[in-house]
Symmetry: C2
Subunit: 302 residues, 2 copies
């Protein structure tokens, strides 16, 4: 154990459609993986469920995490909500629905004792001819900033302390460059609660977008070190955003990743393993792979 361990946790993405309730995932996280820090996923609870149902699940999460000694750092949008283009859907009424969804997500988080919420923001539509502009139109960007400022007000009313943007490697989302991320950070400066970044080791390293010479997490971590307060770690091959665990062969060296994070001055930043498995993969092999992966990460981040 080194003198400067990085706080290590796990996003509950591995639980989706498997260990769906807190009485199932809390003992896996604590007893099988030996972790105490969790990032909750809204793939386990849909904020559009009726209020009484949401309250019951929020209370169960609070109770199970208390009894298992688990801290939930934040709650992140999962694949289900990400699917619907969210705050940048071409239809303004769909954007409004996505904003409402987030408001309900904040209320759920607050009740469950989770003070930070985040995820990707949304995607504009693709063009019929397949041509992808380098960035979303300015009018869409302005609308997005307005919504982010309103959402921060909403989050404050619910008692949350921080919101997250997770940059994704796509021209039709925002931000996909460090420069765009910096512009957005400036444009939401002074929001009712701060908007911070959660960067992901599979996003800044997506070679088909950035070019194989330009893939590198170091510019993200150093360039945004003042506003990154959470990190996703995954194994990936730089060809897609794989979200593999570390039993798969890939190009991320966990010890190097931890070193780059420390060098950027982000030793204190909680780092979450975020892995997705095919729905059809068997449970037993997933638990085994997760145990091996968390053991490896604990050594690398110690």
């Amino acid at each position: 154990m080194s003198a400067n361990p990085i706080p290590l946790g796990i996003n509950l993405s591995f639980c989706v459609k498997r260990w769906v309730t807190a009485d199932l995932w809390a003992p896996i996280v604590r007893d099988q993986l030996g972790l105490e820090l969790v990032q909750f996923s809204y793939d386990l609870v849909d904020p559009m469920w009726p209020a009484a149902l949401l309250d019951r699940h929020a209370d169960a999460i609070r109770s199970q995490t208390d009894s298992h000694g688990i801290t939930i750092h934040s709650a992140f949008i999962g694949l289900a909500h990400y699917t619907y283009s969210q705050l940048l859907h071409p239809d303004p009424d769909v954007r409004a629905y996505a904003e409402d969804w987030l408001g309900r997500a904040y209320a759920f988080a607050a009740r469950a004792g989770i003070t930070r919420v985040g995820g990707p923001l949304g995607a504009i539509a693709s063009r019929i001819d397949g041509v992808e502009p380098d960035a979303i139109p300015e009018a869409d960007y302005a609308d997005l900033i307005d919504r982010m400022l309103r959402l921060a007000e909403h989050a404050k009313l619910e008692g949350l302390t921080e919101l997250y943007v997770e940059p994704t490697p796509m021209r039709r989302e925002w931000p996909w460059t460090v420069k765009q991320a910096r512009r957005m950070a400036n444009d939401v400066k002074g929001s009712a609660v701060p908007w911070s970044y959660c960067v992901d080791w599979g996003h800044g390293t997506f070679a088909p977008l950035y070019g194989s010479q330009a893939i590198d997490m170091e510019p993200w971590l150093t360039g945004l070190s003042d506003c990154i307060t959470a990190i996703h770690i995954q194994q990936t091959d730089f060809q897609f955003d794989r979200h593999w665990d570390f039993t798969e062969k890939g190009k991320v060296d966990a010890t190097d990743a931890a070193a780059i994070q420390r060098k950027a001055g982000l030793r204190h930043v909680p780092t979450f393993l975020e892995v997705f498995y095919p729905f059809e993969r068997d449970d037993s092999s997933i638990l085994q792979a997760l145990r091996a992966t968390t053991a490896l990460l604990k050594r690398s981040y110690a």
Copy 2:
């Protein structure tokens, strides 16, 4: 063109978070892919959107498909709703919400001029020890059948003509064997509208579940030929349910697949290409791969 072409269409899974509205996907389907038959995906429209918004999208779909000469055969649950364990979630209130979701999906389909709706039914929770029983508990199965009978009543009231179960290769879902599918067909016989099967070339061929000697679509197609009225075709490697297009190297030969379908007496059954792409892949390469894939399938299914 042979004398016995199989009706070929496409599931709109390829449009998810890209060509999200009918004015975008209709011209791609008709002009770029040269197809006239579509299976809609609820990853493009969330049935929980407010009624006025749903109506507007339903009307746009009806108008765009009319003007482009496209028929929508059916509407299928996409990845977003599939994520939430649906009708087999351990919490009965989540099951009730999923049943409500389907009721709203039926109403949306009816307004859009779509008369058939379907998809996978749901998943029980996984166990903490990773052990997977061979089948879902009998009490859960009985509850599921009750819900299916109620859903068929609901669908009839909305004016739908047929509902679908899509078997998936998972022990925690139902059915994953031909025998289970036959039992379920018997148990919902006489429902207000018929429950039929939509089988998928990547499901019956998942070697880790069935064993590499037992993977075969022929028993599914012949054993359930009286109740299969739609089929999903995809390229896959039999190691996972890949949902690749046919520019990828895999183990499905499209001409053989068509021959097996014809031999089972299912020449008349509409067959839909169902492919999913990583969100981060570029639009242009996807359109190119889809054009090549539909050209190949048209030859194979002619």
